[in-house]
Amino acid sequence: MRRRHFIGALATAGAAGALGGIPGWPVHASETGGAAKATLADAPSVESLPSLEGKLTLYLGTGEGGLYENVLKAIEKRNPGLELGIRRGPTAALANAIVAEGQAGVRRADVFWAVDSGAIGLVNEAGLAQPLPGDLTGLLDPVFRYERWAPITGRVRSVPFHTGRFSAKDVPTDIMALPESGLRLGWAPAYAAFQSFVTAMRLLEGEERTAAWLQAMARNARGYAGELGVVMGVERGEVDAGLANHYYTLRLKAGKPDAAVDMAFTRGDAGCLVNASGVLAVNEGELAVNFIRYLLTREVQSYLAREAAEIPLVHGVAPPDGLPPLSSLSPPELDLTRLADLRPTLDLMRDAGVL
């Protein structure tokens, strides 16, 4: 079942998903060993968690603008017995460092928190991630349960469009139809989130169709350096629509409430992929696991939804303001760690002349 809709998912996970987050998407049964049948519990409060004591080294993949740092400071303040050492760096570089250290027989990192699930996949594939307990992964909506890592917050691919000239119904619901839609389009091929999206398309549609899509887009699309630039280009009317993660539109509208831009979503394909930041434990031990529990509390999830416009992935936490009803979305089913397989995507993009 690759293409599916929320109604179908409800049958899998039960109606409990209606409380918030991304409700009821199907589970990766092979990863969870049947965890999909578990009842969803509301995310715990930080009040219910054990204190963190001892030394912990965190590798923090940066790129979210400093909000993760605020979370870490709050955890440290609440746990004076925690000696948290943080190594910061670009996510991909830290993932490579963990793998290199692992190959050398060293595990300096206890925990790796990355803005991008592809980097998590790289470490996981190297066999360096520890299994996480079921009561922890069980806090996540079923589709986001993995044995050896935990998604923290999500972001959904969207098609921002100019509201002065179009409505959502003018945007194709099939991402493959977008290049021939007649819309003037904007995109940011050099942007990491876009490349993850193309990876998803390659995995879902195959290389041939993806290459054709890229070539068709290249004939019609205007290039931008980043995806906020795409959204701003749409808002200025330079293009009719574009491709971008959802939070850029929300944040632009937060700063400019009358901005002439809104979001449409494709259905059941890479165009509405939900990607996630994620965390994994590199070293065994209760401290690392309990640290991860803090990231899945309703307080941290609410904070990241409110301040970063990211999508909470636990149960019982409201999504960011301005995100369309989640029940209308139908993202593709895809193991997010497979998005780490970026090299064939870059080759495809170069061959198509878009990089």
Binding site: V46, T62, G63, E64, G65, G66, E69, N70, V71, K73, A74, I75, K77, R78, I86, R88, G89, P90, A190, Y191, A192, Y224, A225, G226, L228, G229, M232, Y247, Y248, R251, L252, A254, G255, K256, A259, E299, V300, Y303, R306, E307, A308, A309
Partner: protein, 271 residues
């Protein structure tokens, strides 16, 4: 800032033979190995920098003398770059005052190109004088920086990752100064790469927050990063013009810093 070991090796041998700069060989380096730790203790190295500036002036004078005596083939004007790459004063001024650092490169190329174009000796000497003046000004700037450093008024020079959006802005400003430096070194591709990487790896991380504070400011900076600055280099603008674009960006980035600081101060607690 990123001088490779390979680029430095040959001139280092020259210096060792001259027995002037034996102290250079033992200098420690930061983790990335590109800038010596001496830049974090300028005061202790002022005598060495002074010696280096005198030595550089002598080397350039020797090149011009050779040109005067034997013409282009005798002068080897390209050696001015090697001499400049060889001294620690290079990173001392580069990490403290980029406008003069860029001016030194302009001066070096002024002498070199005047010789390569086989201009009259007087014209070459005029370029040499401009270079010498800039070198002395730069030494003065490093002395002032050493005083600030001793009073704890400047942060240590190191490659660090930002822990706050404001620190990200500081890093962006430093990277933009490197753009000017690389452009002055006549490495426009490297300068352009720094612009692109700074945009994608740094500015992209904070612009979502910034747009909530001032959407027009983000529009301005987007244009600067993606059009104005790259285009000025692509069009072959002078170093001063590129420096002017960067200075204008600094002003906008300072405003962004203030807005982000205010937003952070007003942000609700996590717990």
């Amino acid at each position: 800032m990123h001088r490779s070991t390979e680029r430095r090796s040959a001139p280092r041998r020259v210096l060792r033979l001259a027995a002037i700069f034996s102290f250079l060989a033992g200098g420690s380096a930061l983790a990335d190995g590109v800038v010596g730790e001496h830049v974090n203790d300028l005061q202790a190295h002022l005598d060495e920098y002074t010696t280096e500036v005198n030595w550089l002036i002598e080397q350039v004078d020797g090149i011009v003398d050779a040109y005067e005596a034997g013409g282009l083939s005798a002068a080897r004007p390209e050696a001015v770059n090697d001499h400049w790459e060889a001294v620690d004063f290079h990173s001392a001024i580069e990490t403290n005052y980029v406008p003069l650092y860029a001016g030194i490169w302009q001066g070096l190329y002024g002498v070199r190109q005047a010789i390569e174009k086989e201009q009259p000796v007087d014209a070459v000497r005029a370029e040499q004088v401009k270079l010498e003046q800039t070198l002395w000004q730069a030494l003065g700037a490093v002395k002032v920086a050493a005083q600030f450093q001793q009073r704890g008024l400047v942060p240590a020079v190191a490659h660090t990752e930002a822990a706050t959006p404001m620190e990200t802005i500081d890093i962006i400003k430093r990277e933009l100064e490197r753009v000017v430096a690389k452009y002055a070194e006549q490495l426009p591709d490297e300068a352009n790469t720094i612009v692109q990487e700074t945009y994608l790896n740094r500015f992209e991380g904070i612009e979502g927050m910034l747009i909530e504070q001032d959407a027009d400011l983000v529009v301005d900076l987007e244009l600067d990063f993606n059009v104005t600055l790259p285009k000025s280099m692509q069009d072959g603008a002078s170093v001063d013009e590129v420096s002017g674009v960067v200075e204008a960006m600094h002003v906008k980035l300072d405003r962004a810093r203030g807005l982000l600081e205010e937003a952070e101060a007003n942000r609700a607690d996590v717990f």
